[in-house]
Every structure is written in C-alpha cells, then in structure tokens.
C-alpha cells in the first residue's frame, strides 16, 4: 500500500532534500496542498487502529445517532461508529486508487513505449487497446467479480484494465514525438543501445504526462471503487468502504441524514487532493516552466 504512494509522492522530491521541498512548496502550491492532503489521509488511514475504535463493533442501543463527542460522525443502522468505519474505509479507497493507478501506469508505460518504437507491435497491440477502451469500467468490474467472487485484488485489476489503454496511448504519443528529436538521433549516433536511448532520453520525457494521467486514473479509480461498493459489487460488505457506507446510509437518509456526510466528504476531499496533486506535478515537470527562474 505504501509502494504506489511512494511512486506518486517521493520520486519528484527525493533528490532535493529539505530546502528543495520548501522551494517546490513555494513555487507549486498545488503540489503542497494536494500532496499534503493525500499524505495526511495516508497517515490517518495507516494509523487508524491507534486512535479510532473498532469499525465492526455493533451497539444496538446507539443506532443511527447524530454526530456527538463520542462518535464524531454519528453511528449507522447497526450502531457502528461511522468515524472509525470512515477511517478504515480510507484504507480501501486509497489502496484501490493508488494500486490501480500504479498498475495502469506501469503496464500502460510498457505498452506505450514498445508501441512507440515498434511498428508491428504498435499495429497489433493498439487495436487491442482500442477494443479494451470501449469496455465500460463498471460492467467489466461486475463481470470479473461475479466470476471470481468479491475481493480487493480482483477489484484493482478490474479497475486498472480499462484505464490502461488511455495511459498506453498517451505514452505512445509522447514517445512518437520524442523519438524524432535530434537529441535522440544524436544519442544513436553516439552508439547508444536502444534500451539506453529509451531509458535515458525517452522515458524521462514521458514521466510528466504519466504523472498527470496517473493522478487522473487514481481519482477515477477511487470513484469507481466507491461506485462498485455502492452497487454491492465492490469489496465484501463486512469490510468498511466509503462506497458501501454511502449505500447503507442512503437507506436511512430520512432518519439519520448526517451519517452519509463522513464518507461522502472524505471521498470528495480525497479525489480533490489527488487531482490537485496531478495538476501541480504537471506544472512542476514542465521543463519550459522550469527555465523561468
């Protein structure tokens, strides 16, 4: 769970140290806000068991309570603490979001680079990608989950598959434009092997686009997971997830209208944070913007 977070968060800032971080924060406030929010959510989700109560603990006498000092987000129809469930649900949302984004980005990057460099592979695989693109995410996820039974792994795969073609197309288009640049030809003239040209001269140019696309995929994956759980096709119902919490709160909206806000606001804030981070990263990676010092 920390691995995809690391690819999104640490890579751009790692070689810079503290002063570099401060500079990025000053120059790119979107990265600071989005990254900060996301980091806060990740820390809260990981340390959930330290401060939040048991999300599965039922208290029949305290059903559908409004928010109070004891239960910050109120309680649901089985008397479970909505705050604890929201915090534990963040684990699912973030994990599914980040893991599907990482899967889609990695597979898409690989396919995109190969397609950008090999005509034959391009012609065949990109037609398959076009086909995949036409499959609706939710339908594919429901189909896959009904085949294997509910589970987080299959959910991640089901969300990543339809997102991959977009990443692959994006990377391919970047590779196609970069491979014709004179500095790539110069590298070939200098005797560089193909894998080195790809790694040193072409791959870095795809990272900004990949970051932005990764953030978009991550945000939409979080939304898709919530939608699937809302429909009952996502994570198993005993595991708290924002989607299935919103679904169950919906039934009691007239009696306890406030219980839906916890997971709902968290979902909105998380998606917003990821999108802000993606926008900020795009600006940060733009070499033309970097030149203006």
């Amino acid at each position: 769970m920390t691995l995809p977070a690391a690819t999104l968060e640490i890579t751009p800032t790692a070689p810079l140290g503290f002063s570099g971080l401060a500079r990025i924060a000053r120059r790119h406030p979107l990265v600071l806000i989005g990254g900060g929010l996301l980091a806060l959510l990740i820390v809260l989700a990981l340390s959930a068991s330290l401060y939040a109560g048991d999300p599965g603990n039922m208290d029949p006498f305290k059903r559908l309570q409004p928010p109070s000092a004891e239960m910050w987000f109120g309680s649901d129809h089985l008397g479970r603490d909505v705050f604890a469930r929201t915090i534990f649900g963040a684990r699912i949302s973030l994990m599914v979001g980040l893991a599907s984004a990482a899967c889609a980005a990695l597979v898409g990057l690989l396919i995109g680079i190969l397609a950008g460099y090999n005509r034959m592979f391009d012609n065949i695989v990109m037609r398959v990608m076009d086909g995949l693109m036409s499959i609706p995410t939710i339908l594919l996820a429901i189909a896959l989950i009904s085949l294997t039974g509910p589970g987080i792994g299959i959910l991640i795969v089901a969300i990543a598959i339809p997102e991959t073609p977009a990443v692959a197309r994006l990377v391919r288009s970047v590779v196609l434009s970069v491979r014709e640049r004179p500095y790539v030809e110069a590298a070939l003239c200098g005797g560089a092997r193909l894998h080195k040209v790809l790694w040193r001269h072409i791959l870095p140019s795809t990272i900004p686009a990949l970051m932005v696309q990764g953030a978009i995929v991550c945000a939409s994956a979080i939304m898709t997971e919530a939608a699937l759980s809302f429909l009952g096709a996502g994570v198993p119902p005993e595991i708290p997830s924002w989607g299935n919490m919103i679904a169950s709160s919906r039934l009691y909206l007239a009696i306890a209208p406030l219980t839906i806000f916890g997971p709902g606001i968290c979902l909105a804030v998380t998606v917003l944070a990821v999108n802000l981070l993606g926008d900020g990263l795009r600006d940060m990676f733009d070499p033309r913007a970097k030149r203006r010092r």
Binding site: E185, G190, H201
Partner: protein, 360 residues
C-alpha cells in the same frame, strides 16, 4: 586514386521515401530524396555539400550516419560497407564517424547536464568512474574552448554558440576520424558562426579529422572547404576543388548558385534572377537532367537523358550534357558510346509524352 583508398567512399547512394505506405498497404509513389550520389573523402579533408533547401543534403548526412537506411548504394568506411551492416555490427563503426547537428537547441537533451551530454558517447562503449568522467568532460570542454565549470550546467543555461560547442565536443568524444556537420552553423549568429567555423578548422588541423560539411551558405563553404559537391534535386551536379568551383563554375546550376549568393560589396553588379522558376518536386522529378526546366542552356538531349558525372581535365566532375558532354571523353569505350543512341531511340516516346508538361 591513392593506394590506401579513401577513408569514406560513397557509391550510388539512393534514398526513396515511399508515399502512402501503411499497414498492409503498398506505397503508390516515392520522394526521390537522394539519387545515385557518389563521392569520397580522404583523411583530414573537408568535403562540403551545398545545395538549396530540399535537395537532399541532410538526407545524405542521415544516410552516412545510418539514421535512415538507404534504398540503394554503399557507404564504405575503410572498405567496409556500413549500409549493409546489422544494428549491432554498426555500433563499432559509429565510433569512426560522428555527427554535429544543425539545431543546437533541440540536439541536446534538456534534462542532462553538459558533462553528461558530452561523455555519454564514451560511456556507451566503456564504463567510466566519476573521476574519469569529469576528467573526460573537462578535456572535451577544453578542446572546444569552454571552461570545465560548464560541465554542471544544463543546456538551457548556455548560449547558442556554447551549445553548438557542446555538440562538437560530443562528436569529438569518441575520437572519430570523420565528422559530419549538417548545417552546423546555420542556426547561429554570424559572429558566432565564424567562431565555430574556426574551431572546426583548428580541430581538423590538430586532430586530422575529415569533415563532411553540409551547408546552403556558399560563404561558409568557400571559407571551409577543400572540395565542394553541388547537389540539385537529389543528385550531385558538380564536384570540384573549392578554388576551382568558385573561380570557374562549370555546371549552369553551380553558376547560378554562386551568382545568386549575396556578396557584401555594394559596388558589385549582380545578375538579376540568375535562374527562373522553382525547384521541381522530388516526387515527380523531370525526365533527363533535373535542372533542364530552369536551365538557360538546355538542349533536347537534357530532356531525355540523365547526364552522367563526367571528369574534366582539371579533376572536377560535372553532370551536364552541354558543358561537359560525355561523348568528348577519350576514355569512353565503344560500347558505352553506343549506349546513348540506344537510349535515345527508346526514349522517343517519352519525348512525346514529356513534351506537353514541358511546354506548359
């Protein structure tokens, strides 16, 4: 010809770019970018290739480096044909021949430092320690007249002239015996052009590197070249020593090219519009001599038959039926002399066919 043979020998190099080719689709036509180009370069010599935009100069450079595969012909380095080599065999020959690119802005990776850029070619062949790499970078920067501190700069922090010096340093890194410079100074200011040209000439004297210098700027060519090849629509029309070419151009195109070059002398009288018309399309080049639609000297034969490159008494070669008629050559055998008449007979139909477009 010398006993050892030339360093670089190009024979009948041809490149056609297919048009309309696609997945499982055959091309319906082709751009004839380079046609039957032959020349040779001796060690330590500069051969300039001149011609106007679109005449195939840059394609020749790319073919020499095998950035594109030729449609036909051979490129021999010390007798080895690199046009037929496999990719991994080619790597060994890449060391012998390096290239300086036209645009010093796009030919340097904006994400790498100057030191990384110029040492990369060496690191493709051998592993360098950090110290070795810095020493190599400092040495290369010194060779092109830059201070070693520059190695930590990004290309975006350097001027155009400094960037082009980096491009030259990168080309020098592998100690090549020949450097191909494709319009290496045309993107620079005139004052910087002179610095870079002098740098190239100094390097040639110190290191004995041969240059293939591609340019459209006759002033630059006159300053630099030992020999000059003039290209028109993918073919070499005249190849002569620099002095001879500028003193007495033989091919009418060379003449027009030299006459049209601006000279910084207000008192000089210039010919008005030395040649009329536009360069024809290389997709559908004119029959016979490609220059005949614009040539003031064109005769019937120019429309039918492609003029061969004919050696003249002063050692130059010229492709022109009028100024350098092939029949005047003593070395020609009887069989070869018969050849044009045979072709003439067969080409009678094509005269009739080509007559219409020629009139309009």
């Amino acid at each position: 010809m010398r006993m050892s043979g030339p360093l670089l020998k190009v024979e009948d190099l041809t490149k056609h770019y297919p048009i309309g080719a696609g997945f499982l689709r055959k091309p319906f036509s082709a751009v004839r970018a380079v046609e039957d180009v032959s020349f040779s370069v001796e060690a330590g010599e500069t051969l300039c290739i001149v011609g106007e935009s679109g005449c195939g100069k840059s394609t020749v450079a790319r073919l020499l480096m095998r950035l594109v595969d030729p449609t036909g012909g051979r490129v021999l380095i010390d007798g080895t044909d690199i046009a037929g080599l496999k990719k991994h065999e080619l790597r060994a020959y890449r060391r012998r021949m390096q290239m300086v690119f036209q645009d010093p802005y796009s030919s340097l990776n904006p994400r790498l430092t100057a030191g990384q850029i110029i040492t990369e070619p060496v690191e493709n062949y051998e592993r360098l320690s950090r110290k070795q790499r810095e020493a190599l970078a400092a040495d290369l920067l010194h060779k092109v007249g830059m201070s070693p501190e520059m190695m930590h700069r990004l290309p975006s922090e350097l001027s155009g002239g400094q960037r082009q010096r980096l491009g030259i340093a990168r080309a020098l890194a592998l100690k090549p015996s020949i450097i191909i410079a494709d319009e290496a100074v045309s993107a620079l200011d005139v004052s910087v052009q002179a610095q870079i040209l002098n740098l190239l000439m100094d390097l040639q004297q110190q290191l004995g590197i041969a240059f293939v210098f591609i340019s459209h700027d006759l002033g630059v060519v006159e300053h630099l070249g030992h020999r000059v090849a003039v290209m028109y629509l993918g073919r070499i029309v005249e190849l002569a020593t620099c002095e001879a070419l500028f003193a007495q151009p033989v091919h009418p195109y060379t003449e027009a090219l030299i006459a049209s070059a601006p000279v910084p002398d207000p008192t000089r009288v210039r010919l008005e519009a030395p040649v009329a018309g536009e360069v024809p399309s290389p997709i559908n080049p004119p029959d016979g001599c490609a220059f005949h639609p614009r040539c003031p000297l064109a005769v019937e034969r120019c429309r039918i038959e492609v003029p061969p490159l004919v050696p003249m008494t002063d050692g130059r070669v010229v492709a022109c039926h009028v100024r350098a008629p092939a029949s005047g050559l003593q070395a020609q055998s009887a069989a070869e002399r018969d050849c044009p008449t045979v072709r003439l007979a067969g080409a009678n139909e094509s005269i009739r066919k080509s007559e219409k477009p020629n009139i309009t």
